[in-house]
């Protein structure tokens, strides 16, 4: 894998561990999907291999769609490792709680626009949370962690993706989740046509109605 000075573990996620490393004089992120002891090795290997191959492919396609993602330098399927560009900046998760209302609106609008571009291109991110979005010093927002993503065009998958975004806002930023999601949809509408947006929103409602998300007749007698 080339020269590598002591990688520094910066995030031990559930799905992968992220290391900050020096690779040929460049600051890089090394994303390693370590075997999970709880899973059977055959299943574990299949999941790790699949994600290691698909993630860089989707990240590359996202760039084509006009969504900034870290540049991939190296993929080693055998050790389930991806070496990619290190984006210096702040997670949107952190930013949303710190900035003014206006700035929050701007960020969410932009995020919506980026999601729109992905969807228009048939890319489903699969894990749209604010910790998977990083703003660099130039104000450019990068999407990371496409490990659960897929290349799909169906309305259903787009609906689930948007629904995940909504849920992520509600679980992490519940104080201003509503205004944020409205801004996201506003940005999303800039890229996709009215019909697609409407269908997407209807789909979210349908997913929510599948049984476990909202009361049909809130407060009504049942």
């Amino acid at each position: 894998m080339g020269e590598m000075k002591q990688p520094l573990l910066i995030k031990k996620g559930a799905e992968a561990s992220l290391y900050l490393a020096d690779w040929h004089g460049r600051k890089v992120i090394m994303k390693k999907r370590l075997p999970k002891k709880y899973r059977l090795s055959k299943l574990d290997e299949q999941i790790r291999t699949y994600r290691t191959i698909h993630e860089p492919q989707l990240m590359h396609k996202a760039k084509r769609a006009g969504v900034p993602t870290p540049t991939i330098f190296l993929v080693d399927v055998k050790s389930a490792t991806i070496i990619m560009e290190f984006i210096e900046g702040k997670q949107v998760k952190q930013l949303l709680g710190e900035v003014s209302k206006n700035e929050r609106q701007r960020l969410c609008l932009k995020i919506g626009e980026l999601i729109g571009r992905l969807h228009k291109y048939g890319i489903i991110h699969g894990d749209l949370t604010t910790s998977n979005m990083i703003q660099n010093s130039e104000g450019k927002i990068f999407f990371v962690d496409f490990g659960l993503g897929e290349k799909r065009k169906e309305l259903e998958t787009r609906g689930v993706d948007l629904h995940l975004m909504k849920r992520a806002l509600h679980s992490t930023h519940f104080r201003f989740a509503k205004e944020c999601f409205n801004a996201v949809i506003k940005g999303y509408s800039k890229v996709l046509d009215t019909e697609n947006v409407k269908n997407g929103l209807d789909k979210i409602k349908e997913i929510e109605r599948r049984g476990r998300y909202v009361a049909k007749r809130k407060g009504g007698k049942e």
Partner: protein, 340 residues
């Protein structure tokens, strides 16, 4: 809330969200004096809400009587009545609510409507001494990964369609298996899975923090009908896949919240394989693994009684005119002021 002198305060809790009708009695200090559960076993197919409700209505007085006998108290000794107000099946919830209202108004004591999912978490904390866990609640009706934050139990991940327990149940029924009161479908599948050796790859669907089991169920059922694989191997593969999915999501919630405990509850918590997987991720993240004893992991009245106590101590009560059942009452809609 002032403790009355000379005698204990008791809460009676009624649980009737789905196929179980149960009455539990708890003291205000969390001592469970009785927990009587009467399960409805459909002769065939899944739970028919109206038939289950009929069972509840028929069995209610007997279960109540048994609970009082076990707790060695009289109805007049009760301080409050708690009941599961939702989420659940309408006819079943209404039957429990009717019994609760009748008791409360007859005895002239307060009524407390309890959220079923909150109750599962609270009894789990009471029985395992967990303080602030990430909870994986898996049953026939629910699959929820949650953790406390700012006044409520927030939902981090859940199923996008059917519940994990439901997935196992339907597969077992499709395979022509039978369940008994002492051995529900989940246990039957677990027993067969223990004999399985060959892993058949099935759709593994994790979307962000959410999961989907319906496609996987269809795939497993189709393979079953083809008859190319042994039932033991299919049970084994089904279990391995669905448990890996919930474990992955639970691990993500654990990594995200950085909590120090993982609590496993709900009917499926009894499964040893699932326990070992959740235990493994708990160890990985230096968290304590807690599993609720099965009597309190399945739907039970004791959890409703205890949660009723917690709410009532915070001044929460439900006037009869507001005691209508809430079929789709989400976990995160409920404020839990007793959790700090």
């Amino acid at each position: 809330m002032k403790q009355k002198k000379a005698r204990e305060n008791y809460c009676l809790g009624i649980e009737s969200t789905a196929d179980d009708f149960s009455v539990g009695i708890s003291t205000f200090n969390g001592e469970i004096l009785a927990n009587i559960i009467s399960a409805y076993m459909p002769p065939e197919g899944g739970i028919h809400p109206r038939e289950a409700a009929r069972h509840h209505a028929e069995t209610a007085s007997k279960v109540l009587e048994e609970a009082f006998k076990k707790a060695e108290i009289k109805p007049q000794d009760l301080s409050i009545i708690a009941f599961s107000q939702g989420p659940g099946l309408g006819p079943c919830l209404r039957t429990g609510a009717t019994v609760a209202r009748a008791l409360a108004s007859d005895l002239g004591i307060p009524l407390v409507g309890v959220n079923h999912c909150v109750a599962h978490i609270e009894i789990g904390k009471l029985k395992t001494d967990a303080k602030d866990p990430v909870t994986l609640y898996v049953s026939g009706g629910n699959t929820i990964v949650s953790a406390f934050d700012s006044g409520r139990y927030r939902v981090f991940g859940e199923t996008l369609d059917i519940a994990l327990g439901n997935c196992l149940d339907v597969f077992a029924r499709e395979a022509g298996l039978y369940q008994k009161p002492s051995m529900p479908f989940g246990a039957v599948v677990e027993k067969l899975a223990a004999k399985g050796k060959k892993l058949v790859l099935l759709p593994y669907t994790v979307k962000g923090m959410d999961m989907s089991f319906s496609g996987l169920l269809t795939a497993a059922t189709n393979l079953l009908k083809k008859g190319e694989y042994k039932l033991e191997d299919l049970c084994y593969s089904l279990q391995e896949t669905v448990f890996s999915m919930v474990t992955e999501v639970t691990e993500r919630a654990l990594a995200h919240t950085e909590k120090r405990e993982v609590l496993l509850t709900g009917g499926v918590a009894a499964n040893k394989r699932l326990q070992s997987m959740i235990k493994a991720i708990a160890e990985e993240h230096d968290a304590e693994f807690c599993v609720v004893p099965s009597e309190f992991a399945i739907d039970n009245g004791a959890m409703i009684a205890w949660t009723g106590v917690l709410a009532y101590k915070q001044g929460i009560a439900t006037p009869i005119e507001k005691s209508f059942v809430k079929l789709r009452w989400r976990l995160e809609e409920v404020e839990v002021p007793w959790v700090k």
